[in-house]
Symmetry: C2
Subunit: 417 residues, 2 copies
């Protein structure tokens, strides 16, 4: 089958979406429970499929980090099951009336939440995304076409087979979850042309993947791009607090998109703050790149290149720049940042408010670590990812962001004059 | 200048957007007032520019309908001014806190409305869109790059010059409103590649234009596509009400997207209803195309082709089909419709509720004309258009749909564990 039979699968997802569209929360929860049971039943088979992927990974000399991401064990499958159980507990926004408008002519107009319909998800790396994303889409009444990374193909195929067993058990169409079971790159391009069947495509991955998808998709895209996050330490900052926040945002988990990649420091406290924070970061193994002024205060720093300012490292590297004031910090962040998450550390309320207002990012912080940009930390209960665009959803995307609206109008024979 | 100097203008819009982003409602209203004054001042010059377009239209033998759309006079300019005054009165959603979340760790998270940023609008025909769209974008804090139809190029250029005079008067950057002053089609393609500068592109026009833009844009698109709207007359309908609704939806203004194009009639009332409604429609000059069963009841009907079911006529034409029940009607609408506006006429509450729930359209009606799908009729105060997609905005798009959100987080030194 050419390119994984994409149009046929997209159509099957579209058809199934009209069944899911009208499912009650009870029916959708019954499905999710069945998925948990089938996952438990099939642990040995899932691990066996995963072994095939691990064998190919070893042959292809995949890095330890990527191999670790790919690896499943009983504990990780148990975590997937817990994730699905958490989604069961969440309330389902479908059918909620967001707004009710009573018109002078007597028309009663309700703006009601409905599923998006047919969702495409393109992701890389970890096989747990297969279960997480499917559970969130199903709970919000959406059918889903999945396209995972080629390294995890056998594991993903097996996980989707498990979901299909559960769908069959609760009498829902198999097309509610389809998987593109080819590693052929052309399949992604074909998926992006299915505007007849798919209502949205959500890509999760590198900026390169996202840009490729944005440039080639006829289907509307919700981009989950990279995070070049900044901490700006203001002249009025509490120095001890600033050190803790910078250290946390850089070191606690450097491989994620809400980790800090850049530190901007007000020139009047650079002499006091920079040597102190640099020592702490260096002890944790962080490589420091600095502008000319930073180099004067941090002896083991290496010069930052111009390209550093727009880079996402996802690693123990930080680039530091001394700025002359708040305006320069805001301008730098809006210019070189990725509009993901940025923070100011300051005791000056009006500086804090200006930063929050003027920095054009999905999440802006005063006196807290950027690491909090996350669906669970924001209290959304779960997340399908973190949107870095302004349309439809921005920042952590929860269940409610997997819905659209429709206007439901009750009349008594009204006609337009 | 190649293709109207698009990248330079897009960049100018982006830069201006950061100034508008932080404008108060008072400043934005002052700008809109200045636009009203400058329009009043410049009526002779605007009419003069319009004459040039009308002269080209006559030379190109443009149809009467299109020439009428293109024509300005003092009254139509006065209507534009009234439109801007109406936008001044609307409340500006920017800065509104949609949701406030207090986390157990003490973080205070506010979900706040912010402008989208830099908006591209691609439209055809009527020059009043230039003023309407600019006013709505400016009021919601967005800078805008406009691309109007080639027939109105001189009028549009003049109208944008008027806006720029107003911008200058209130000390806002000229880049808040830019216009692509070339009729070169390549300029549209170039506009769609400005993802670095534009946050969204809103095309208004034919389905052909929309599809071209969706297939070629790297910038996120909010599509305003066509309306293939249905009225389904149920077996339990009030026949007199059904006749009024069908007549209104088809005849009152056939050239707009919320006019009815299709009539579905339950087989058990076809004999009673069809001859009656057909007579009324025919007297108003409506051409009737019908399926085989309809032809038996309507003597002057011509046979409908298979392609009729998915067509938007925007004219005094209707296609009629007899269906065996509610299920067949819903299935037909979801399959052949454009997911814009669809109505059922019924006295049976459960039939009405099923139709409202299961028809997957932006606006669904029970016992009312589809002609109400409109920002003013829905009480939004104004509309930038009617979205036919599910992402971000669906149905009539008001001021609030020209905003995005940002998460504003206040902490006291919180770090992630």
């Amino acid at each position: 089958m050419a390119a994984g039979n994409v149009p046929k699968k997209a159509r099957s997802v579209k058809e199934a979406s009209s069944v899911l569209y009208n499912c009650s929360s009870r029916q959708k929860n019954a499905l999710l429970k069945a998925i948990v049971f089938r996952l438990r039943d099939q642990i040995p088979e899932i691990l066996q499929a995963n072994k095939k992927d691990l064998k190919s990974a070893a042959a292809a000399k995949l890095s330890d980090v990527l191999t670790d991401r790919l690896t499943l064990n009983e504990q990780r499958i148990a975590q997937m099951m817990e994730g699905v159980k958490d989604v069961i507990k969440l309330s389902d926004a479908v059918g909620t009336v967001v707004e009710k408008i009573k018109r002078p002519n007597g028309l009663c107009i309700e703006k009601m939440r409905v599923p998006l319909g047919a969702v495409g998800i393109i992701y890389e790396s970890r096989p747990n995304v297969t279960i997480d994303a499917a559970a969130l889409c199903l709970k919000s009444g959406n059918a889903v076409l999945l396209r995972g990374g080629s390294e995890a193909i056998h594991t993903n195929k097996k996980l989707v087979a498990v979901i299909k067993t559960a769908l069959n058990e609760v009498d829902l169409p198999a097309g509610c979850v389809e998987f593109i079971d080819t590693t052929d790159r052309a399949a992604v391009l074909e998926m992006l042309k299915q505007e007849k069947y798919l209502d949205v495509v959500i890509p999760r991955g590198s900026q390169q993947l996202i840009s490729f998808i944005q440039a080639n998709s006829s289907v509307p895209v919700i981009a989950h791009g990279e995070g070049n996050c900044h901490i700006y330490v203001d002249n009025s900052a509490d120095i001890a607090m600033a050190e803790e926040i910078v250290f946390n945002a850089k070191v606690q988990r450097p491989s994620v998109c809400n980790a800090a990649e850049k530190l901007l420091v007000h020139s009047s406290i650079a002499a006091q703050f920079l040597p102190r924070v640099a020592r702490r970061l260096s002890r944790a193994g962080v490589e420091i790149r600095g502008d000319k002024e930073t180099l004067a205060f941090v002896e083991n720093a290496i010069p930052a290149a111009q390209t550093d300012w727009s880079k996402e490292y996802l690693d123990l590297i930080i680039a530091i720049k001394v700025v002359k004031n708040l305006d320069a910090a805001i301008m730098h962040i809006n210019r070189y940042g990725s509009h993901h998450s940025d923070a100011i550390v300051t005791q000056n309320t009006s500086h804090g408010e200006r930063f929050l207002r003027e920095v054009d990012s999905a999440a802006v912080y005063v006196n807290a670590s950027t690491r909090f940009t996350d669906g669970f930390e924001f209290g959304l209960g779960a997340e399908i990812g973190i949107s870095t665009q302004k349309l439809h959803a921005r920042g952590p995307m929860g269940l409610v962001d997997l819905t659209s609206i429709k206007y439901v109008v009750h009349g008594k024979g009204q006609i337009r004059k």
